[in-house]
Each structure stands twice: as structure tokens, then as C-alpha cells.
């Protein structure tokens, strides 16, 4: 199975740490992990993971959406890292084009209202949120409760 980590603007510190943590968990559970995002967000990941221990494949965010829209690429889970409205819009776009289950990882100072909006806007989305800006542990605890990520995959065929 494949999972896509869709990174938003990296201005909130917890994003990179959480993305690497989720990448590690997914990889340990047998997922192929692909990461897409803005150049800065992706570069933060690459610098933190030079040996590609957590994330093996990176893809340009526009190219990623292009390929999903054209049906040449798809995944089973899409993790949208959301701390502002634009993050929701990107995840909504992938959710409309892909067969994958959308998972919204919502953080930042506006996490609570944003998580409600995400939940109300996207069908079948799994939302994990915490008002985390510098400290990723509240979100890590919630992510750990999920256990096996494969159970969220809607199309197991």
C-alpha cells in the first residue's frame, strides 16, 4: 500500500517532525511513503533525513496533482498537513481526484476551528488535531492511538 504525505507551508515548526514520524510509522507498517509539498517543506524533510530512512520518494506538488488527475498515479492514504485554509484546499483537491482515504493532521494556533471545518467539508476524512505549534507530542499521542494505519484504507481490494 502507498501513502502520500502532503505538506503545507513549513512555517509551523511541528510539521517536519510530525511528517518524519508518520513516515517512519507508515514505513514500519509496510507502506511505501511518498512526500509532496512546497520546495521549502520538502527541503526541510530532505535535510533532516539525508539517508532517506523515513521517506524514499519526493514529488513536486503540482506534478503529484497532475498525475492523480490523469490517473497515472494514486495512493491508499493521503495525509494532509493542515495549519491554514490552503492546506484544507489542497487536501480537498486530492480527495476529489484520488481513491485514497484522506487523513487530516491539523495543528497550529487555529487547529480547533480548522479541524471542525475540515471534518465538515470532506467526506470520509479522518481528522487528528491538536493545538500544537512548537511541541509535537500532543499530536504524536493522538497519532499513536490509531495503531494500524491500514485499517483506514477504504478500498482494500
Amino acid at each position: 500500500m502507498k501513502a502520500l504525505l502532503l505538506l503545507g507551508c513549513p512555517e509551523v515548526p511541528v510539521q517536519t517532525g510530525l511528517a518524519l514520524y508518520i513516515g517512519n510509522t507508515l514505513k514500519a507498517q509496510g507502506f511505501e511513503v511518498i512526500c509532496a509539498g512546497t520546495p521549502s517543506a520538502v527541503n526541510l524533510m530532505k535535510v533532516a533525513d539525508p539517508k532517506k530512512a523515513y521517506i524514499e520518494t519526493y514529488i513536486n506538488i503540482d506534478k503529484c496533482i497532475d498525475q492523480i488527475a490523469e490517473g497515472t498515479f494514486d495512493v491508499d492514504l493521503t495525509f494532509g498537513f493542515i495549519h491554514k485554509d490552503s492546506g484544507l484546499q489542497y487536501l480537498a483537491t486530492i480527495a476529489a481526484l484520488s481513491r485514497s482515504t484522506p487523513v487530516a493532521v491539523v495543528f497550529g494556533r487555529e487547529a480547533e476551528p480548522l479541524s471542525k471545518e475540515v471534518g465538515e467539508s470532506l467526506d470520509g476524512v479522518h481528522v487528528v488535531w491538536a493545538k500544537a505549534v512548537h511541541n509535537p507530542l500532543p499530536l504524536k499521542k493522538k497519532l499513536d492511538k490509531i495503531g494500524e494505519w491500514a485499517t483506514l484504507v477504504r478500498d482494500q481490494s
Binding site: G8, C9, E11, G37, T38, A41, I61, D62, I65, D66, I68, A69, K84, D85, S86, G87, L88, Q89, Y90, A92, T93, A96, L97, S121, L122
Partner: protein, 103 residues
């Protein structure tokens, strides 16, 4: 800006907004509004956003949303292009039929 839009003579009508703001702006300011699905290409650029995504059309312009990950949503006004408008109108019809059939 990337793709063809970058090289066009565009005007920014709204910037650093939420997607809902851009939806409201286009609905209130465009002469006619069509709705398409996210990922639909206008001027070779895929539209991003919660469906349905609005595209405004007027006598001399096409008005669309442009979402940037770090800077929020924008409304851009681009010169009217008949070929693009024909595609937008056809997609609006197709998209509405799809939504109706889903109930």
C-alpha cells in the same frame, strides 16, 4: 505563479484570502459564474479547492481562484479566451450532471 498564467496579463483582485472569500468574491463580482471540479485545468493550470470551484466569466475576462500553500487564496482576472470559456461551460454542465446523478 506557474504555467501559462504566469506569462499572461493577469490582475490580482483579491489576495491572501481564504478559499471561501474567493468564492464569495467571484460570485459577487463576475457577470456569470460556472462551477467545475477541483483539478480542472484553466490556462493549463489545475484549479485547487473544495468542490465546486467557481470560475467567473465576463465580457472581457475570466476570473479564477489561485491557491498558494503559504499565501492563501487569490482571485485572478485574466483576459477572456473563447476556447477556454467553451471548455469551462462544457465542464460546468458535465460537473452539474455528475452532482445531480449523485443526488
Amino acid at each position: 505563479m506557474a504555467g501559462c498564467i504566469e506569462q499572461m496579463d493577469y490582475e490580482i483582485l483579491l489576495k491572501n484570502a481564504t478559499f471561501k472569500d474567493t468564492l464569495r468574491y467571484i460570485t459577487e463580482h463576475a457577470a456569470k459564474v460556472y462551477y467545475v471540479g477541483p483539478g480542472f485545468k484553466v490556462f493549463d493550470r489545475r484549479l485547487i479547492g473544495l468542490p465546486p470551484v467557481p470560475v467567473g466569466v465576463g465580457p472581457s475576462y475570466i476570473m479564477l481562484t489561485y491557491v498558494k500553500p503559504c499565501h492563501g487564496s487569490f482571485v485572478l482576472k485574466l483576459p477572456r479566451d473563447e476556447e477556454e470559456i467553451a471548455r469551462i461551460v462544457a465542464e460546468d454542465k458535465k460537473y452539474n450532471n455528475k452532482r445531480k446523478s449523485k443526488g
